[in-house]
């Protein structure tokens, strides 16, 4: 697709966006796009990727300003336009699709207004155009549909409307900021298909921003890897994936779990530097395993192969090759007593039944993954097991003895042996209490506290999750997301539990942090804990689960040993889930086919 004769449609040159106090949020970002190219911009939270996307539109959020550089789109200098010219450029040259269509579509306006406002021409022409575009994005194109409002659409339909809004004026460039992040796997696949199809059919030039390398790999032909507000690597997709030259790119790839192979995941130590606290030299140097003295001076982007790399030693690439990381699956222990069982669980919200006759078993030292999309009832199921859901029938046992359905009916021992870890680490610790206070509270009524061993137990748990004990007088706001999630795990561990119920515990974490939490949970399994892991992410399932149940609309549609289910799914729903799960194309394709060939 790349044709060096084609003139660039979009060039960004040394774009800098800074806070009003002058601290840079993104610095010295340059990129070039030719007609029909799709550039993926990938980065974890704090990388500045969304700030860059907005800067390319000539827009900066409140409290932030574009400090320098130039953005040229089809001959128009975006950063030196008058407000009026800029509005015109945004109507005709470049369009933007935001992450959350539910928030990005004005709830009070009808679809016809949303689609056609800003267009020129008679209202009949505009309506005809709106209908054409609706057809193109795969939505009904009748008048009744045009009169709807965004709230009356599903999430996938809303995102199609947002995309239609962007392409209706036939812009030269379209910028998509995480357009599929909030969507379910199957919806995401459909929206991604639409984007790919638009790019090919209309020869669209696009910038696709995402935290998810697999998504980027599936739509983009070029990629820009951002870290801490800087471009660290930029080049053709295949080239960067095959030979990552920057240590950060390599580390990012090593942290991504694969749906095809169980691997050791390598987290990145440390944290992304805050705005205003950037290190003097290379932005990644304080977390880089290969840092040398020369890294204390910020390196420029330099050519290495066909890619641009911001590293003093891009030739390191050869030593950065992926090590064999495959790890073996735990074998089923024989004839152990189940740690937790649930039989004939039926649950409802009001009159609406959400779980139908669900049965499951959690064994000590093994992880049961509960897989499902939103609305599958998987979160309700975990709430049922912990005793927070009120409207349910069925039977539970914990270590062989019956377990009351409601937490109020359970005794201290049952409450201690069954522990719950929540999805959102930002909300799972009381912001007004120190880490130590939260951990002590977890020991209320316990034998350890009565015997005066509370401090020892807490220190032991913190040590287990690798949190320094001197953080106990910190408030949650002073910790990173990964640290908070580990403290939440420690809070469960102080009770010496038999079973951990993990509700999407990694889904709000960055991939490099997710890796460390998954590794921690794996090591807890080694210790003999039973675990139920609720997730929508099959790659995570591959990497942690021993057995799997697949939930769809409140019913178990498939269950079994993890390898059996993932390698040879029997139910069409599981098959479609698996087919829609995106996978990073890596050099390990042979092992993948080998693994599949077994069945």
């Amino acid at each position: 697709m790349t044709n060096s004769v084609d003139p660039a449609i979009l060039t960004a040159d040394a774009v800098t966006v800074e806070r009003l106090d002058g601290a840079p949020i993104i610095a010295d970002v340059s990129l070039t796009l030719r007609q029909g190219e799709v550039m993926g911009i990938v980065g974890e939270s704090g990388s500045g990727k969304s700030t860059l996307a907005l800067a390319l539109m000539g827009h900066a959020r409140r409290g932030v300003r574009i400090g320098g550089g130039a953005v040229n789109i089809d001959g128009t200098e975006m950063l030196s336009l008058t407000p009026k010219q800029l509005r015109s450029a945004r109507r005709n040259l470049v369009a933007y699709v935001a992450q959350d269509p539910g928030a990005a579509l004005n709830p009070t306006l009808r679809l016809d207004t949303l689609l056609t406002e800003g267009l020129e021409g008679s209202s009949a022409e505009k309506t005809a155009r709106a209908k054409r575009i609706l057809k193109k994005v795969g939505l009904p194109d009748d008048d009744a549909f045009l009169r709807r409002r965004p709230r009356q659409l599903s999430g996938g339909q809303q995102q199609r409307i947002a995309i239609a809004m962007a392409v209706i004026a036939e812009p030269k460039v379209i910028i998509l900021d995480e357009p599929t992040t909030g969507l379910d796997v199957s919806t995401r696949a459909k929206v991604l298909d639409l984007i790919k199809q638009l790019c090919i059919a209309d020869n669209l030039t696009a910038i696709y921003v995402s935290h998810d390398l697999a998504v980027i790999a599936s739509v983009a032909d070029h990629v820009t890897v951002m870290y801490g507000g800087q471009v660290v690597e930029q080049g053709e997709m295949q080239e960067v994936l095959a030979t990552p030259r920057h240590p950060y790119t390599r580390a990012l790839l090593d942290a991504v779990p694969s749906v095809n192979d169980r691997q050791a995941l390598l987290p990145i130590r440390g944290r992304v530097p805050n705005v205003g606290e950037w290190p003097e030299g290379c932005i990644f140097s304080d977390r880089c395993d290969y840092a040398i003295a020369a890294c204390s001076v910020r390196p420029p982007l330099r050519q290495a192969g066909t890619a641009l790399v911001r590293c003093v030693r891009p030739e390191l690439a050869h030593t950065l090759g992926a090590v064999s990381r495959h790890i073996d699956h735990r074998r089923a222990a024989e004839a152990v007593e189940p740690a937790l069982t649930a039989t004939h669980i039926n649950a409802a919200y009001g009159d609406k039944q959400v779980l139908f006759d669900v049965n499951l078993t959690v064994e000590p030292g093994r992880c049961l993954a509960v897989v499902g999309e939103s609305g599958s009832g998987k979160s309700t199921l975990s709430r049922c097991l912990i005793g927070l859901h009120e409207n349910l029938t069925g039977e539970l046992t914990l270590a062989g003895s019956p377990l009351p359905l409601s937490v109020a009916g359970r005794d201290q021992i049952a409450r201690e042996r069954l522990q719950y870890i929540f999805q959102n680490p930002n909300a799972s610790l009381n912001p007004r209490r120190t880490i130590g206070q939260s951990l002590i509270a977890a020991l209320d009524g316990s034998a350890a506290k009565r015997e005066g061993r509370a401090i020892d137990v807490i220190n032991e748990a913190l040590d287990r999750v690798s949190i320094p004990a001197d953080l106990t007088d910190r408030y949650p706001a002073e910790l990173s997301g990964g640290q908070r999630q580990r403290v939440a795990i420690a809070r469960a561990l102080v009770s010496n539990p038999a079973v951990l119920l993990c509700d999407e515990v990694t889904s709000s974490l960055d991939v490099s942090v997710q890796a460390s939490v998954i590794e921690l949970l794996r090591s807890l399994l080694e210790d003999g804990l039973g675990m139920m892991f609720v997730t929508h992410d099959l790659a995570v399932v591959r990497n942690i689960a021993d057995t799997v149940i697949v939930l769809n609309e409140g019913r178990i549609v498939e269950q079994g040993e993890m390898q059996a289910v993932l390698n040879a799914p029997q139910h069409p729903y599981t098959q479609s889930l698996l087919a829609n799960t995106l996978q990073l194309p890596t050099g390990d394709d042979e092992t993948e086919t080998a693994a599949l060939a077994v069945h």
Partner: protein, 293 residues
């Protein structure tokens, strides 16, 4: 699994000054100014009667005399020294207003947290009672009761509490409801923490900032209601000196001796603004920190 240990050697964020809890509100200049004003006025009001140049009850000249070296702010409708009366005229407000506000906010918060946490019938009954109180304009209730039982200060405080409490309960319940969906509260439930403990340990500290906003706001309203009652003749009774009462007593002389009205008005304005500043400053800090989170 040594990788886990390596990976977690994250350095904690550089420690900022303890910017949590109620202390962060002190960083607002408005809060500091408000607190200073309230403390200043309270001290002034308590020591002023001893410093007053004249007996506040005895005439020092003819009625509505303009300011003079003897009476710096002139005289009132009965020829008494305005300055001395203004200095003595806040003593009732100085205890009644804070007492009303404190009791109203404490009771309102307790009701709100209990209603929010237990939900169901408890919530319905408690909040419906609050609605009934809200459905009755405070000034009517106060007028009615004072006309029955007479304007005794404890009764006035009770009435102000009844007037303000439902509003506090609504606001704090509104602030507490989203907390109930927070995972740390759910976690406390999963380990069987009793409701009383969840309310005091998990909920209360997290509504402390809105509580301070309410306290400031309700203090300022207490002053307004109490002085309004004095003004229409159903609060503090003559011959006692009270700012609201002074405005009413000297209203007829506004054209010839405005100081007899404007001096007590200034004191009321300062007192009410002190509370409002605390509310405003706290609310701003809360909005700012929530914006960051």
């Amino acid at each position: 699994m040594t990788t886990t240990t390596d990976a977690s050697l994250e350095l904690p964020r550089p420690r900022k000054a303890r910017a949590t809890g109620l202390w962060r509100l002190w960083s607002s200049a408005q809060v500091r100014l408000g607190v200073t004003m309230l403390v200043g006025i309270t001290i002034l009001v308590i020591i002023a009667p001893f410093l007053a140049p004249h007996d506040m009850a005895a005439p020092v000249g003819r009625p509505y005399a303009p300011p003079s070296p003897e009476a710096w702010l002139g005289t009132d409708n009965l020829g008494r020294d305005v300055l001395s009366r203004v200095m003595s005229g806040g003593i009732y407000l100085a205890w009644m207003a804070p007492a009303s506000a404190l009791i109203a906010v404490s009771l309102g918060a307790a009701i709100a947290l209990i209603a929010a946490y237990y939900g169901g019938w408890t919530d319905l009954i408690l909040m419906r009672c609050m609605d009934v109180l809200l459905a009755f304009p405070g000034i009517l209730l106060t007028l009615l009761c004072v006309s029955i039982f007479g304007p005794a200060p404890p009764l006035l405080v009770t009435l102000v509490v009844l007037t303000l409490m439902p509003g506090v309960a609504r606001v704090i319940r509104g602030a507490a409801l989203p907390l109930l969906r927070q995972e740390y509260v759910l976690w406390a439930k999963t380990v069987g923490t009793p409701g009383r403990v969840i309310i005091t340990r998990e909920l209360l500290p997290n509504v402390s900032s809105p509580l301070l906003v309410e306290l400031g706001l309700r203090l300022s309203w207490s002053v307004a209601i109490l002085s309004s009652m004095s003004f229409i003749g159903y609060g503090i009774q003559p011959p006692a000196a009270d700012w609201g009462l002074m405005v009413a007593e000297n209203g007829n002389g506004l054209g010839i001796q405005p100081y007899a009205v404007l001096a007590p008005i200034l004191m009321i304005v300062l007192y009410t603004i002190g509370g409002a500043l605390i509310a405003e400053g706290s609310a701003r800090i809360i909005a700012r920190t929530e914006g960051e989170a």
